[in-house]
């Protein structure tokens, strides 16, 4: 029980990060391998706001999310749009965007190491007891989970109940046809990339309230997010949330029952199972 609740609480932030990545890959068609660095950058900004200006991380989200949205829009417009225009086919864009986002990954990581150093950091926020089913959990974890759930619900509402969101989903399904029904595909893709960055940053800011972070841990989070996205099916919101739950619980299980040093192995175990049995994702349809 303890493991399941801890796993679920952890999966809230995972889900946000993965939703960010799935928007970037599913709609904007950019496999953003620098996604984890966006998360780490948000951790540092939340840390900086809290320790330097004593701004509550939840209030900090109101600063971090719009800032991440604007920065990611900029990154897309400056660095990635030329690749989209240049690419002759999907495969070409995939290879190019992977290499370009490697560049961003190292650039961001290098800058963060330069500014914040390589040490592990954390801060104390809402470190109080909170009881669920008779077991005690950190209040900060519960608050982070609730905040993540609210943001994810907001995203769902946006995607499935508004015109903009429908346009986003249309581009995810088929950019060419979306273009035919008067959707500005380039703009929608940029918007999706920026929104994805903002979601990932929210995940990072929430993560920083209960997690010890350092400048070079981004890659592991990118890996987790990628596996959640594949497990859930690219561009699939329900799938990503469910996959995040599965990953969060199985990771917590391995960490508490076997060894905390093997969480990545647990992630990979799931990844291999998905690749062998459902490479199209939990809710995905088999490719024709």
């Amino acid at each position: 029980m303890n493991i399941i609740v801890t796993g679920i609480l952890l999966s809230g932030t995972y889900a946000l990060v993965a939703l960010g990545l799935t928007l970037q890959y599913g709609v904007a068609r950019i496999m953003n391998l620098g996604n984890g660095e966006t998360l780490v950058a948000a951790c540092f900004v939340a840390f900086w706001l809290y320790t330097g200006f004593s701004i509550n991380p939840l209030v900090g989200l109101l600063i971090i999310a719009p800032a991440a949205f604007a920065i990611n829009w900029g990154i897309y417009a400056v660095a990635l749009q030329p690749l989209v225009k240049r690419a002759k086919n999907r495969g070409q864009l995939e290879v190019d965007s992977i290499l370009a986002t490697f560049g961003l990954l190292f650039l961001m990581q290098g800058l963060m190491i330069l500014f914040f150093g390589g040490e592990y950091r954390s801060y104390t926020f809402l470190a109080e007891r909170f009881e669920i089913f008779g077991n005690a959990y950190g209040l900060n974890r519960v608050v982070a989970f609730v905040a993540a759930a609210i943001i994810a619900a907001g995203l769902w509402f946006f995607l499935y109940r508004t015109r903009q969101g429908t346009a986003l989903r249309a581009v995810a399904v088929d950019p060419t046809s979306a273009n035919l029904v008067a959707i500005d595909v380039a703009r929608t893709a940029a918007f999706a990339f920026a929104l994805g960055g903002a979601l990932t940053a929210c995940g990072g800011a929430l993560l920083s309230t209960f997690y010890t972070f350092n400048a070079s841990m981004g890659v592991v989070f990118t890996m987790k997010a990628l596996i959640i996205v594949i497990m859930g099916g690219v561009g699939d919101v329900r799938g990503a949330v469910l996959a995040a739950l599965i990953l969060g619980i199985s990771e917590t299980f391995v960490a508490s029952v076997i060894d905390p040093g093997l969480t990545l192995a647990a992630t990979y175990g799931l990844f291999i199972l998905v690749l062998l049995f459902r490479p199209q994702g939990i809710f995905g349809r088999a490719p024709t």
């Binding site: 995939e94 290879v95 290499l99 990954l105 190292f106 650039l107 990581q109 990545l264 062998l276």
Partner: protein, 322 residues
């Protein structure tokens, strides 16, 4: 098998001559120049092995550090028990098995999965090795004491590079090489003419993985003390990708063009600006994608093509009046 064209005989001879010349280096210097040459030859071996698979398939493999680390570890674990040459063979076998497993899981489906899988592979193997070590032994690291000097390592790496070149050359002439050319140009066509695409890719990846593991095994004595973070340093994978792409992967010797300048630049930066290496690597990736997507050899070939095009009409024009 035989039946070399004069052109091929010439390239083979030239290659052998260059390796023989390079082998003379330790006779002249055993300090800084030898040390940086070991790095150059190491990355030459790694990049050509990498390009062996990633060149024709266009799949960006980031598994180099995993294979390399497995190679170093097999020497670290076995050096007290088994003769060194045998350990190199064991390293190759482990590399090939690992590549086979990764390939079997990912290469049957689209290429993105492969990239993602290899992206975290070094980290995964590092975690597993660390866990096994803390669980079953007390020490975190391993000592490798051998009689080998920098010169020996240099010569062995040089021989390995030669072997990788020869293998790529032979593969290019074999059925497998032909299959890879077809797959690289159009995978659907390849499947329609009856090529088992997944099998060809997996075999090629295994060969590449085995060579990278041997490179790790050869370099192991250089570290003296081996521990997971240094053996499975993910930076190795990324540097290999940059160097190979910088040179270009269409030609066999393409990666070499990237290896030599980039190793020197990285050596300079890591000794003078150690805090900026990440930024340089990031900028290098961006520069390659935006400015030289086909590598330096691609640039040269384009220039050559433009040159022949420009001179060809001129030749026709000259003939007309006659």
């Amino acid at each position: 098998m035989m039946g070399l064209t004069p052109q091929e005989t010439k390239s083979l001879g030239l290659g052998a001559l260059l390796i023989a010349l390079a082998a003379l280096l330790p006779l002249f210097d055993d300090g800084f120049y030898l040390s940086i040459s070991v790095n150059i030859v190491l990355y030459a071996a790694l990049c050509t092995s990498w390009a062996l698979f990633s060149g024709p398939t266009h799949y960006v493999s980031l598994a180099t550090a995993a294979f390399y680390g497995l190679g170093t570890y097999s020497v670290g674990l076995g050096i007290e028990l088994l003769p060194y040459p045998l350990l190199l063979l064991i390293a190759a076998a482990i590399g090939a098995v690992m590549a086979g497993l990764v390939g079997a899981a990912t290469l049957r489906i689209s290429g993105v999965y492969f990239v993602i899988f290899t992206f975290g592979l070094a980290e995964l193997v590092r975690q597993l090795v660390t866990w096994t070590q803390t669980k079953f032994s007390t020490a975190m690291g391993l000592y490798v004491f051998t009689e080998m000097t920098e010169s020996h390592i240099y010569w062995m790496l040089l021989a390995l590079t030669g072997a990788v070149f020869l293998t790529s050359f032979l593969i290019a002439r074999s059925r497998l090489g032909f299959a890879m050319t077809v797959i690289g140009n159009d995978e659907t066509v390849a499947r329609h003419v009856g090529i088992d695409t997944a099998r060809s890719k997996i075999i090629l990846f295994m060969i590449s993985g085995a060579f990278i593991a041997i490179a790790g095994a050869i370099t192991a004595p250089r570290y003296i003390y081996i521990e997971p973070p240094s053996a499975f340093n993910p930076m190795i994978s990324f540097l290999v990708v940059i160097m190979a792409l910088l040179g270009g992967t269409k030609r066999l010797w393409g990666p070499l063009v990237g290896v030599i300048p980039f190793t020197i630049v990285m050596d300079f930066i890591s000794s003078n600006f150690p805090n900026h290496t990440m930024i340089v690597v990031g900028l290098a990736f961006l520069a390659i994608v935006y400015l030289i997507p086909h590598g330096v050899t691609g640039l040269l070939e384009n220039a050559q093509a433009r040159w022949t095009k420009r001179s060809a009409p001129a030749a026709v024009a000259e003939e007309k009046p006659a």
